[in-house]
Symmetry: C3
Subunit: 346 residues, 3 copies
């Protein structure tokens, strides 16, 4: 794909300064620009790069004022960062615009697919599955019986969706994600464990994105639910009957135990553990590696630690934890002084 | 699948109270019952739901005494929870009762399979593999050369078993599980690392269940062993030459380093880390997010912390950790008082 | 495969002591030797096993002096451990020496492959992919468009490589590894999140090994880079734009957040978390379960804790953490004594 500075300006409603015919065929960071690349300048801390960049075209804010000569052609726009993000998005959409049914693939005759889908080779679509329009299923993916997948949803290679799960529109599941595996339910029984059958499902609402190799277990009964707009990073574990509220964002390797309900607009760091059967209020933030052992009822609370408590208290306490040798020294000094004083006064 | 209240009562050796011909076609929680659904009441805390539930049939304990009129048909049994679990199990078994060889799939001519197996499309069975009776291998799974898989074992989609591994009867491996990847063994060698070949295998005994995307590495020499009845949750890491004793249960995202031996009937929480070359006694319990850095010799010990120690001590200590600002205040008050006293007495 | 003691001695430039025609067909640990097995004695702590081992042939150091009769045939070599490791390696190479194209597999006509490759059934090779010589791609793997894979590189089953990634020579990717998934980049936008397209790639240099189900995200722009000789264990998360320096070794379940640069020759334990946008100096060691929240500028620093600090300080501090109840007792004793003293002196 090759574009001229003028074509880019037209797309972004910007103004060219320099050679409108300047051609670009790739995107780069400003500090890594090379001939033929298009980049952007939004963060003032990176301004010095614009004078030496080898990129051919740079998108800048409308009000950018050069203090030295700039060799590259500029495209001035209202908001350079957003314009560049838009370009990335267009580029990505074109790059990933696959359609058609590759062979061999497996679609049960009872399954139904919408228009313009992509079904990669070695992908499996089970009985009674319903695929929406423009669904993209990359190779080596598996969709179990009775699943429903909404419009414009993408499953990257090797995604596995167990039977009976429901996935909304505009959802992205990255490679290796497992949706609907059995919840971890066993009953003690004479010294060993008997499995509790997990016959619920997983419901994933619209605009959810789930990172590579994350696992979302099906409910014992009912549904594990990932609400609209939730973003999960890689290698996250979501246990049976969990519910994650709208627009909550969770970083990699976090685990949420069974039946916990997480509110909307929460931000949860990486490697956090949350025990089962809790309620986490809306807008809660949890620092990386924290362990949450009890419900959080106050919206917007920010926590850290394992077990976690208020983050400012945690930070203050951790400073003292690091000073424990000093505190111990003070205590023994006190003991000594006091003992001397007692001797003196006796 | 549709059943009448009478058919369910016959299956569970229960007694119908209400309409024996009442039909149900799905299972639900009592608080989510709807017309046509079957549910149960076992936990007294949920008793109030029975008077309003829209479920058509409710399984209750034989001695349940209604204090208000109940609209639903009841099936009274000895133990409502166990009866319902039994129904779930029957339902699940029927739902997952797949057999036959889907095409395309790959089975090396030297492989041997028992009766009534299911081999999903795009599954791969290598040289000299032996599959027992009623083995179910879902699509996109891989079984390397010389593996042996026992009767009634299920591999969900995308399971990968490297060569030479041995898997018992009634084992369940969930989607994305990797059995027998190389142990992490490298020797420093002139500033870089030389791989130590990992030529052992993994042995998984009967009635083991392993959750989605967990990884069990093969031994360097000999075997990594998962004993009978062990239950592992999702995203668990088991390193080379580890042995996990019978009926031990481990929650998600826990990692066990090389050559560690874990006893029988242990319960290990999520996100626990256990270092290599340790011995963990039988019946030990380890709280979530703990780090175990030395062997645990006392059976039944319960631990928490990183590094972990006795859980009661940990809890008591953590209370004081949270009080560190208060303790520091006390120390400086003591210093001040003592200093005043010394001035006064001098 | 069957060998005589003499053949093994010839391969290792060793000397036979006993029956040169003694046959072995498997490798074992000395404490688990059985007739027909070959083992070794390198660690003096295991010397007592040599007098009773049932192994047929034992490789020993040249200078080993038996204090009792040894039944097994010996092969004396310069360095028993290294010789045995060499044998393991030869054995493994033979065992994994697969070549040929299994069917069905999918290779886009625009893809190009070197000589003697192995392409397992149900593997997918996208447009314009370049595969080097002797590349081994096990079944159910996926290689997206425009990827380049060097010579002698092995992808075990179910590896997924997104488009545009570059993988060097002699690289090993274990089962379920995901290379090049989208980085976790979202912009707040009116209460929900808008995806930032991730159009960079992943570059993996020569001699890298990555463990099962680990995930390496592609860069937003530019490249996430895993340098030469890096060894990553299972279930590791590497976020977008991260760079890991040469010969750094990382244990299982560790996560590294976006844009962090890790130096050469670092050793990072399991379940460590490292936040984004940090610089970690060369030769740094980080204990398991630590959390690194700020850059580490001093080469060779060793850290522990969450947040992590100097490991000796951490260990000293953690001893005092465990003694907090004792310290609290001392403080209240001091308070009491001081209070008595004040009463007495007033």
């Amino acid at each position: 794909m090759e574009f001229t500075a003028q074509q880019i300006a037209d797309l972004l409603q910007g103004i060219v300064e320099g050679n409108p015919g300047e051609k670009v065929s790739k995107l780069s960071k400003i500090e890594e620009g090379s001939p033929g690349s298009l980049t952007f300048l939004a963060n003032p801390a990176y301004t010095h790069y614009i004078y030496n960049t080898e990129a051919s075209v740079v998108i800048t804010n409308r009000d950018f004022q050069a203090e030295k000569p700039v060799r590259a052609t500029l495209v001035r726009v209202e908001n350079a960062y957003q314009s560049f993000a838009k370009l990335l998005d267009v580029y990505n959409t074109i790059r990933r615009n696959k359609t058609g049914i590759e062979q061999p693939s497996f679609m049960d005759p009872s399954a139904h697919a919408g228009v313009e889908i992509y079904l990669g080779a070695f992908s499996y679509v089970g009985k009674n599955v319903k695929l929406g329009d423009r669904v993209k299923i990359y190779p080596n993916s598996y969709i179990g019986d009775n699943c429903v997948i909404g419009n414009d949803t993408t499953l990257f290679p090797g995604v596995k969706v167990y039977s009976d799960c429901i996935i909304g529109n505009n959802v992205t599941l990255h490679a290796g994600v497992v949706i609907g595996g059995d919840g971890f339910g066993f009953q003690p029984n004479d010294g060993n464990y008997q499995k509790v059958a997990q016959i619920g499902n997983v419901i994933i609402e619209d605009h959810v994105e789930i990172g590579a190799n994350s696992t979302i277990d099906r409910a014992t009964l009912g549904s594990s639910i990932i609400r609209k707009g939730v973003k999960l990073d890689n290698l996250i574990q979501v246990a049976h009957n969990v519910e994650i509220g709208e627009n909550t964002v969770i970083a990699a390797q976090t685990g949420i135990a069974g039946s916990t309900k997480i509110g909307k607009n929460c931000m949860i760091g990486g490697q956090v553990g949350i025990v089962g059967h809790l309620q986490i209020a809306d807008g809660v933030k949890i620092a990386a590696q924290s362990g949450v052992g009890s419900s959080i009822t106050r919206s917007g609370e920010i926590l850290q630690g394992s077990p976690a408590f208020n983050i400012s208290d945690y930070k203050r306490t951790y400073v003292l934890f690091r000073k424990l040798p000093e505190l111990e020294k003070k205590i023994s000094d006190l003991q000594k002084t006091l003992s001397e004083l007692r001797s003196a006064s006796s």
